[in-house]
């Protein structure tokens, strides 16, 4: 069982987001970067599946050198090898083509991603890779069990879930509660240092969108603390006009 897990390198969920260079760049001062929380679920499930079936886990990131500590962390959590496609992830389409190109090089039984990256929140790369490779893509997946060459999944939909059966290989965008996040232990951290982290050049690929200027939301007005339920109901009715 060979599993490819695609991970993003994103600001920690508690980060205050700011921009610089005339609002054209993320201000990285003081920002801590982590494995995307949904990618972390994908990786955690991959580690569990490997415990069941053996095989190898490859983690992949399309990014510049700064993302290597994040890949090392994925190795510490339990991936066997890491690949960094040395390119700035210009847009989802560019990233999807890079992932598809790597996926074609080795036959993976399963490609796991997060349901969405928490920086651009597209939730798009898995479907694009699926279409490029001609494989089913299923997202957001909250449960994934293997049964021989098939898998049984639960996909979250608005107000419930769908249960799905699909043959390997396929692509899944993962979310909780597919697995519990794994924290690297000492042994993992030590062994991660000697695991292979390969840096490869990007394949030729086009972009279809172009990011221009960033903007922060308008600051919120001061909260009105009210003393009674009746006062609240009046405000909701007459001021907010939502009742």
């Amino acid at each position: 069982m060979n599993i490819l897990v695609c991970i993003t390198h994103v600001p920690d969920t508690t980060s205050k987001i700011r921009f610089t260079e005339g609002n054209t760049q993320l201000d990285k001062t003081g920002v801590q970067f982590i494995i995307g929380p949904y990618d972390d679920y994908a990786l955690a499930r991959a580690v569990e599946l490997k415990e069941q079936t053996g095989g190898t886990i490859t983690v992949l990131n399309v990014g510049e050198a700064e993302t290597e500590p994040t890949l090392r962390k994925a190795l510490a959590i339990g991936a066997d090898e890491a690949i960094r496609v040395n390119a700035f992830p210009k847009d989802a389409h560019f990233v999807a083509q890079q992932i598809a190109a790597r996926a074609k090089e080795k036959s993976y039984d399963l490609i796991l991603m997060g349901r969405e990256s928490i920086d651009f929140n597209g939730g798009m790369v898995h479907g694009m890779v699926g279409e490029i490779l001609g494989l089913p893509s299923i997202s957001p997946v909250m449960k994934l069990e293997l049964e021989g060459t098939k898998a049984k999944l639960a996909r979250e939909i608005e107000g419930g879930k769908e249960f799905i059966e699909v043959g390997l290989p396929f692509i899944a965008g993962c979310q909780e509660p597919i697995a519990e996040w794994k924290i690297p232990n000492m042994r993992g951290i030590m062994s991660a240092r000697s695991k292979p982290l390969q840096v490869v050049d990007p394949v030729e690929a086009d972009t279809r969108t172009e990011t221009k200027t960033y903007e922060l939301p308008a600051p919120k007005a001061e909260v009105k603390i009210v003393g009674s339920v009746d006062e609240l109901v009046q405000l909701l009715k007459n001021e907010a006009k939502v009742l």
Binding site: F19, G122, E158, K161, R208, P217, A240, V242, L243
Partner: protein, 321 residues
């Protein structure tokens, strides 16, 4: 050239997020002059179709195949691509949703299109085609240009008022060839609460947190939700503890909501929870701790015990109605 809007149904009813998508396309067409074609798949109640004309559709197509009542991703993508070509479209508009995202991404490849998700406004067409989208889970926006000829826009909920003054349009039935291969991922069962307001679609959300102590105390949340015809939400620990189903969990790792009113009861307001509610137009916080961080993100707040306040609030709203 024209615009194609893909709409979704839930238990036979057209989703309000889809009516927003049609209204968005109608507003876009006022700028560009493109015709607004709408495609619906699966079973949709007869009485529901007339909302599409009112929302701004110029032509409506229906693929009635019952297999499309559920979210067979590849099948939906396959049909949309065919209809996109048939109506000579260059722009596809759909609502951001579990199915919308999944099909839009496959279509970006099929249609050679530039795709932007989480769109929050109409495009600026003066210099190319530039749309604003929400990023960093609602913490920021970015202007994004789509130079590609074909474009796909996945619209974030609550960014476009639903238009209701359009003309009635008749529905044209289409039969589309669906190869077996698009059903490779087979849906074996669907589990869904019926008759409930869908959380991401809801106009009002009543949400409870760990401060409510246990699932046995959810009766009052349900009571309040009922008088408001609201959807129910919760914080992550509440769904982690199994007090409420996972699909009710709001936040960074859960559902992102954008109602006109979000009522947060006994939720502290951790930044990851706020990430799921920052699209709300009005936020009410009920918390016994005056220092709870949620108050900083709220429009209205009451400091006090939820077990005392919520039943009173339910009664007061009942009295009003």
């Amino acid at each position: 050239m024209s615009i194609l809007v893909y709409i979704e149904q839930d238990q036979g009813k057209i989703k309000s997020s889809s009516l927003e998508a049609v209204s968005y396309a109608a507003a876009l067409s006022e700028k560009s002059g493109d015709k607004v074609n709408v495609l619906g798949c699966g079973t949709i109640e007869d009485a529901d179709w007339n909302q599409l004309g009112k929302a701004g559709a110029d032509a409506i197509y229906h693929v009635a195949d019952e297999r499309l009542n559920s979210g067979v991703i590849q099948a939906h993508a396959h049909i949309i691509a065919q209809v996109f070509a048939k109506v000579d479209a260059s722009i596809l508009v759909l609502a951001k949703s579990a199915l919308g995202d999944a099909v839009a991404s496959r279509l970006a490849i099929k249609l050679n299109a530039g795709l932007v998700s989480n769109v929050v406004g109409l495009p600026d067409m003066n210099a190319g085609f530039v749309v604003k989208r929400s990023i960093f889970t609602g913490k920021a926006f970015v202007e994004t240009a789509i130079p590609a000829e074909n474009k796909i826009l996945a619209i974030k909920k609550n960014t476009q008022p639903i238009k209701t003054d359009g003309e009635e349009v008749s529905v044209e039935s289409l039969t589309v060839d669906l190869p077996e291969s698009v059903f490779a991922a087979r849906i074996t069962e669907v589990e869904k609460a019926s008759g409930e307001v869908l959380l991401p679609e809801a106009d009002i959300v009543v949400s409870g947190g760990r401060g409510l102590n246990g699932p046995e105390n959810w009766g009052m949340i349900e009571g309040l939700a009922e008088v408001l015809q609201a959807a129910r939400g919760c914080s992550k620990p509440v769904s982690d503890l199994g007090w409420r189903p996972h699909h009710e969990h709001v936040g960074q790792t859960g559902v992102k909501v954008a109602p006109s009113l979000y009522i947060a009861i006994a939720i502290s307001g951790a930044i990851q929870h706020l990430a799921g509610v920052n699209g709300s137009r009005n936020i009410v916080v009920i918390n016994k701790d005056p220092e709870a961080p949620f108050f900083k993100a709220a429009d209205y707040g009451i400091v006090g015990d939820a077990f005392d306040i919520v039943p009173k609030l339910t009664e007061a709203i009942k009295a009003l109605k």
